[in-house]
């Protein structure tokens, strides 16, 4: 191990750090949207970074967006599983209310490892 080796190593670590910063840092700024899907149609799309309470037209379901997280606040379905699903914040995740055929989904790409195959969120 000579003096130059340490310089090369420090340089490589710096390079990897810059790479990490650019690849992992930039993607976080991507604006995420919450899609409300009733049946098979996207009825509305709300920005995730804006706190709102939104009641879905035609069905008895209220969605709340708070702190870049979304959850079902109120529902009229018999089992209430969508309410029990809690809050979601990552791209690609969804809350599904089966009795009322409503899907609340955050769009955007979920970071999957292409080699290992799809990782189901």
């Amino acid at each position: 191990m000579k003096k130059g080796d340490y310089i090369v190593m420090a340089f490589s670590i710096l390079l990897v750090g810059v790479l990490c910063f650019f690849l992992y840092g930039q993607k976080k700024n991507e604006a995420l949207y919450v899609e409300i899907i009733v049946g098979n149609e996207v009825v509305d799309s709300l920005p995730l970074n804006q706190d709102t309470v939104y009641s879905v037209n035609g069905v008895d379901l209220t969605v709340k967006i708070e702190d870049k997280q979304v959850c079902v606040m109120d529902t009229g379905c018999p089992d209430g599983l969508c309410k029990a699903a809690g809050r979601i914040s990552q791209a690609g995740r969804s809350i599904i209310c089966l009795p009322q055929k409503v899907i609340v989904r955050i769009n955007g790409t979920f970071p999957v490892d292409a080699v290992a195959g799809g990782m189901c969120p």
Binding site: M1, K2, K3, G4, D5, V8, M9, S12, I13, L15, V16, L19, C20, L23, Y24, T109, P111, V112, D113, A114, V115, A116
Partner: protein
């Protein structure tokens, strides 16, 4: 090409093939956790070849190694990966060997060439898998540092034991 050079190239090529086959046995757990990560023992042989015989013999040994390995156990995708990575890392190795030997040992050469290998591989993977592969690239590059150091230590050992040039 002298017969001695030719013979040495043949011996080095077969050593590289054996090493790249054998390294699967003791980096299995590493490969399972991070697909595509290899220790890169065959890189030792290619770099040693470049140190003692020059650029072109190393280029030929490196490319032939990739092709023969593909015939033995690879698939077309892994051929494209290794080929690009191999060519990029060969050029980087060539320039890294120009660094003054007084201050830089072969560890530097090895670290730089393994980084280059991964970056070259990364470029091809984007063609195959799309930009989502970019998320995996920093992991590969980070792991290439310890792997490069380990193979670099081995290269230094070989250069010490075989000083004839």
């Amino acid at each position: 090409m002298k017969i001695k050079t030719l013979t040495l190239c043949g011996i080095l090529l077969s050593t590289a093939l054996i090493l790249s086959w054998a390294e699967r046995f003791f980096s299995v757990s590493l490969m399972r956790a991070f697909p595509g990560v290899k220790l890169g023992l065959a890189n030792i042989v290619v770099t040693v070849c470049m140190v003692y015989l020059g650029f072109w013999p190393a280029f030929i040994v490196g490319l032939l190694r990739v092709f023969i390995l593909f015939l033995i156990m690879g698939n077309a995708v892994s051929l494209a990966f290794s080929l690009t990575g191999c060519i990029v890392s060969l050029f980087v190795t060539y320039f890294a060997l120009k660094l003054p030997e007084k201050h830089f040992s072969l560890i530097s050469v090895s670290v730089l060439s393994s980084l280059a290998f991964n970056l070259g591989q990364g470029m091809v993977s984007i063609l195959f898998f799309g930009s989502s592969f970019l998320y995996y690239l920093p992991i590969l590059c980070t792991l290439s540092l310890p792997c490069g150091i380990v193979t670099g230590i081995a290269m230094n050992g070989i250069r010490k034991a075989w000083p004839s040039t």
